[in-house]
Symmetry: C2
């Protein structure tokens, strides 16, 4: 028997908008752990993301070992010091004051990689755009982000990292491509305004500025 | 006064799961147009996606001109013919039977690009991973996909395209990077199973197969 399709009503759409508006890149976490089984459940949902040719090329790495977390933290500190120095002199002190990762406090660390040439999918859809395997993994991470926020769990994307160094620190297959390192946990606070905007680093612009018609 | 944070309850989370499970890559559209203002509203929501350093590097191009749509269709046909020929001989007839794009029927065509070095964001977060601007645009497209599905609107990602040819056909700034071409419209049918699985091209695997612990 055919499963009945769900109806998405106006109330749901309003809540979905809230979810999108109140999702944040979280860098300030409470230390309490996520309930047992939570991250596995979120990963299962993330695997419903779109993927090129149904290749499901995302690879998830849960990082628990203290020495591996310490290695990632060192890579971040090194890369962030470099990023500070390429800021123009007048922005450096502002940059240095920003908190850009919650690596020390977040109870859950998740690295996401992509497999660039998965047998699954039989190559469909990626001959001219092989980067679509990376994009599929990005959409899985984004799915997980939204599903986490719906449970009151915050997530932060750490991109100030050297991909090769992270791959080595986590001892993953050599062909995998590093997509991002994610901190998860309960946020210290919730807000509809991005932290970088509250800190006056940058502000949001209307979408119409990014729209052309052809 | 501080806006009250939304509460996401179990009923909402169950609907969100439905949304993720019933989102599809749609290639079979009804021809009726989207209501006026719909795509602009969806783009406004998409601009709440995460972006590296709050750089909002996504660029949206609504493609209405028949000659530009025809040019994209030609690029697709050319690239798809090439993709057919690199399939192993025993899979070619199966590949040829798949419907991989709804370019002829979809009432709304949207191309998404990224700006690789936007001034917005002041470079934050992308020194070691410049590809995060592309990833931000991917998350905007994915946000739009989910918001569209919540209104009963289907979306399909066309990746069987030559990025440089599409950029030329749409006459966009030379530095922009092509992320994807999207068809939108009301779907002919809805289903919780991906079309590539229904067509026996590929099937989904459990997320646990993509999970490592370190």
């Amino acid at each position: 028997m055919q499963e009945a399709p769900p109806e998405f009503d106006a109330a749901f759409r309003a809540r979905l908008r809230d979810l999108l508006v109140w999702r944040r890149d979280v860098r300030r976490f409470r230390r309490e752990p996520l309930p047992s089984g939570t991250i596995e459940r979120l990963i299962e949902l993330a695997a419903h993301a779109p993927s090129v040719g149904l290749s499901q090329p995302w690879r998830f790495v849960l990082v628990d070992a203290p020495q591996r977390r310490a290695a990632v933290r060192e890579i971040f500190q090194h890369c962030n010091a470099e990023a500070l120095m390429v800021q123009p002199p007048e922005r450096r002190s502002h940059y240095a004051r920003l908190k850009l990762a919650g690596l020390d406090e977040a109870p859950c660390h998740l690295a996401v990689f992509s497999e660039p040439a998965p047998p699954q999918g039989h190559g469909l859809g990626r001959l001219t755009m092989p980067e679509t395997t990376d994009y599929s993994a990005v959409m899985a991470a984004h799915t997980l982000w939204l599903a986490a926020r719906a449970e009151g769990i915050g997530m932060g994307w750490v991109s100030i990292l050297d991909p090769a160094a992270v791959a080595a620190a986590l001892d993953v297959p050599g062909e995998w491509r590093f997509i991002g390192y994610f901190c998860l946990g309960y946020p210290q606070s919730v807000d509809p305004v991005p932290e970088l905007q509250r800190e006056n680093w940058e502000h949001r612009r209307p979408a119409t500025e990014a729209l052309l018609r052809r």
